[in-house]
């Protein structure tokens, strides 16, 4: 485990997606510590456990068993020591409703799961290297959904 590495947490119930995610992180040249949880309950347990280091960026799938991503998002934003975690919604859905809801609930960015591995790498690179302080202060409905140039 590297000391100055970026702590990334992916909450996704899909094994393949976790695999793509892991591979993508391995291929980009940034020091990261990537952890995975399989559902919403596990995510909240992980975050609430004092022994675990809080992630710098949480990639959150919306459609998860036991507790959905939206429920987790609301709970995180309600919890004082968790509410500052950068949250990137990572979902197959690109429905207006989901984008609108998560924006209102305070997510930082919305990523539609790409169907191309190289695109995934680009997205992850973009998200990990973005200046979050700058991005969050200028956040609006238009730049909430991540679009690669």
């Amino acid at each position: 485990m590297q000391k100055n590495a970026l702590h990334i947490l992916l909450a996704d119930d899909d094994e393949d997606d976790r695999l793509f995610f892991k591979d993508a992180f391995e291929e980009i040249k940034i020091q990261t510590n990537v952890n995975f949880v399989h559902d919403g309950m596990q995510l909240m347990d992980h975050l609430m456990n004092q022994d675990n280091k809080l992630p710098d960026i949480l990639f959150l799938d919306l459609n998860m068993p036991k507790k959905t991503g939206k429920e987790c998002l609301i709970e995180i934003k309600k919890t004082d020591h968790l509410k500052d975690i950068i949250i990137a919604i990572y979902s197959t859905s690109s429905s207006e409703e989901d984008i609108e809801d998560t924006f209102i609930q305070g997510a930082n960015i919305y990523i539609k799961k790409p169907s191309d591995f190289n695109t995934l790498k680009k997205i992850i690179n973009e998200v990990v290297t973005v200046n979050w302080h700058y991005h969050t202060s200028g956040l609006n409905r238009d730049n909430f959904l991540l679009r690669l140039k």
Partner: protein
């Protein structure tokens, strides 16, 4: 509220009648008085004559006495004295009669008194004459004196009697004059009064017969209209009832009975029977409404069921309004509607609505499935293919590489299909928020969305000023993207595409077959291109979902784009048409409400 035509003449008729009756009463009272007076005056005349006669009798009795005495004095035959002896009684009788006759007349009574004195003196003088003419007591001088005194007394008596007669005559004259004065109406005046009364009565008669004619006419009209009302009640399945709140009397129209499944007038309605046919479920609420009428004098719409004698249940709607008629009595007019058919239809509609809601929900969940669950495996396929690296491909056989590439193409196509299908269904299911925007802005957005292909094809888009309309912005933007994209896609090879977009205001009446006539003004926006065009026989079918005019190898597409356009325009209560000449270009026309 005008209940019946106003017969104003009835009041004037009454006045005329009263006047005529008064005139007649006046005339008859005058006649009566006249008669009375005539009677009085004849009595008076009789009275005067009677006094006259009695006075004459008195005189003649005295004269008889005088004659008898003279005869006796001359002949000394006692037979001549008989009249003298009776004359005293006669005088007394006449006197009593006279006294009675003049009882109400003071001066006559006085005169009578004086006359009586004179007569008494005359009889004393008679006695003296007899005494001094008797041979035994004969005294020529005294006899002469008394005879002469008798003569003077006699003259005085005559004078007195004349005076009394005169007074009576004068009195009679005066009284007759008074009567004459009292009946001052001349016969001419009486006759004219009578004529006036008569003409008044005739006038009244004329008015009455006129009113009668009018009444007859109105009665006829009333009969016709009441017939029409009852007929229309029958046809329209409604009925009326009137409740006189003052007398608490309730009247049902014939159709009310029919609606209740009864023969007209089969029972006398009252407050108790109002509830008789109401369905047990609704009795309480209807009773409450009825109490509400009496308290608030108003009946809002009440919906309830009734049970007919044959146990058929019908649905009723009732409304009432309080009216005040010309006499000031309060009448509650109620109208009952048999809404059974509508009610059943409504229930059916509600059920259909529920079904629609259900299928809408199903559609929404299908949307979710399509947007999420169907995309999931597809995305995996695509990602896994993208993971097949060039190094992997180098060791594959040619055919395997070919298969991988085919899988990739099919997966891509599948993605486009799903995306378009989603877009199509979302144009219908997502929120429809109308915002007033300048369509030029939306067109600019659409153009920048298509910037890449515009540049690639060196296309020219010419636009004149587009209107500012209340639209669903992202949908109109999509419409522009699809239409322009379509033109660019089907451009002619070797010819730079040119798209002309123009707008004008039109009136819906000019396009009765295609435009919603309740909206008057539309904006007609035309997209004219110089593309390859299509056979005009397909101008309707190109808007149908999955309808394609070209093979997908020549022109990749899903056949959803124009269907989306149609749906978007329909969402805006507009219309879209297409026309084309093969090889020359196409024109798409969009009508959007002002």
């Amino acid at each position: 509220m005008k209940w019946i035509p106003n017969f104003n003449s009835s009041n004037s008729l009454r006045v005329i009648f009263v006047i005529a009756v008064f005139i007649l009463l006046f005339l008859s009272s005058i006649a009566y008085k006249h008669n009375q007076d005539l009677n009085e005056s004849s009595k008076l005349v009789m009275h005067t004559y009677e006094i006259n006669i009695q006075l004459e009798r008195l005189m003649s009795a005295i004269k008889d006495a005088e004659t008898g005495q003279r005869g006796y004095i001359i002949t000394r035959n006692a037979r001549f004295l008989t009249p003298y002896i009776y004359s005293r009684d006669k005088v007394n009788t006449s006197f009593i009669t006279l006294k009675k006759l003049t009882a109400d007349n003071e001066p006559q009574q006085k005169n009578l008194q004086k006359l009586f004195k004179l007569i008494t003196q005359r009889f004393v003088s008679f006695e003296n004459c007899l005494k001094y003419s008797d041979p035994k007591t004969y005294d020529k001088r005294k006899l002469d004196n008394h005879m002469f005194g008798g003569r003077i007394l006699m003259e005085n008596i005559r004078f007195k009697v004349d005076e009394m007669n005169d007074i009576e005559k004068e009195y009679l004259k005066k009284r007759l004059k008074i009567y004459d004065d009292e009946i001052s109406l001349s016969p001419l005046f009486s006759i004219s009064l009578f004529l006036v009364a008569l003409s008044f009565i005739l006038l009244a008669y004329r008015q009455i017969s006129r009113d009668f004619e009018r009444l007859k006419v109105f009665n006829k009209k009333l009969l016709i209209s009441s017939g029409l009302i009852s007929e229309s009640e029958n046809i329209g399945k409604f009925s009326t009832w009137q409740w006189d709140l003052d007398s608490d009397k309730i009247d049902f129209s014939d159709n009310q009975f029919r609606l209740l499944g009864l023969e007209p007038k089969s029972f006398a309605p009252n407050r108790a029977t109002l509830l008789k046919y109401v369905h047990p479920d609704d009795k309480e609420s209807v009773a409450k409404a009825i109490d509400g009428i009496v308290e608030k004098k108003n009946l809002p719409f009440v919906y309830y069921k009734i049970v007919r004698p044959d146990f058929e249940v019908r649905y009723f709607k009732t409304i009432g309004k309080l009216l005040t008629d010309q006499q000031g009595s309060k009448i509650l007019l109620g109208i009952n509607f048999d809404i059974t058919d509508e009610h059943l239809l409504n229930i059916e509609l509600q059920e259909r609505n529920k079904e629609l809601e259900k299928s809408n929900k199903e559609l929404a969940s299908f949307n979710h499935v399509a947007s999420h669950d169907l995309q999931e495996p597809l995305r995996k396929i695509q990602t896994f293919i993208s993971r097949v690296s060039d190094a992997d491909k180098a060791v594959m056989s040619e055919s395997a590489k070919n298969y991988i590439s085919k899988i990739e193409t099919s997966a891509k196509r599948m993605r486009v299909l799903i995306d378009d299908l989603l877009l199509f269904s979302r144009t219908n299911t997502t929120k429809k928020e109308f915002i007033k925007v300048n369509l030029n802005e939306l067109l600019d957005n659409a153009e920048s969305e298509l910037a890449e292909i515009i540049e690639e094809k060196k296309a020219v888009i010419k636009t004149n000023k587009l209107p500012k309309l209340s639209v669903i912005p992202y949908q109109i933007e999509q419409l522009f993207i699809n239409l322009i994209g379509n033109s660019l896609k089907y451009s002619q090879p070797n010819l730079e595409p040119e798209i002309i977009i123009s707008s004008e205001k039109v009136i819906s009446a000019d396009y009765p077959k295609i435009l919603e006539q309740s909206i008057k003004k539309f904006h007609k926006i035309t997209f004219t291109d110089n593309g390859m065009g299509f056979d005009p026989q397909f101008k309707e079918t190109i808007f149908i979902l999955f309808q394609r005019l070209h093979s997908k190898t020549d022109y990749p597409g899903t056949g959803i784009g124009l269907a989306i356009c149609k749906k978007i325009v329909e969402n805006h209560k507009g219309h879209i048409t297409a026309d084309s000449t093969l090889g020359k270009g196409s024109v798409f026309t969009v009508f959007l409400p002002d």
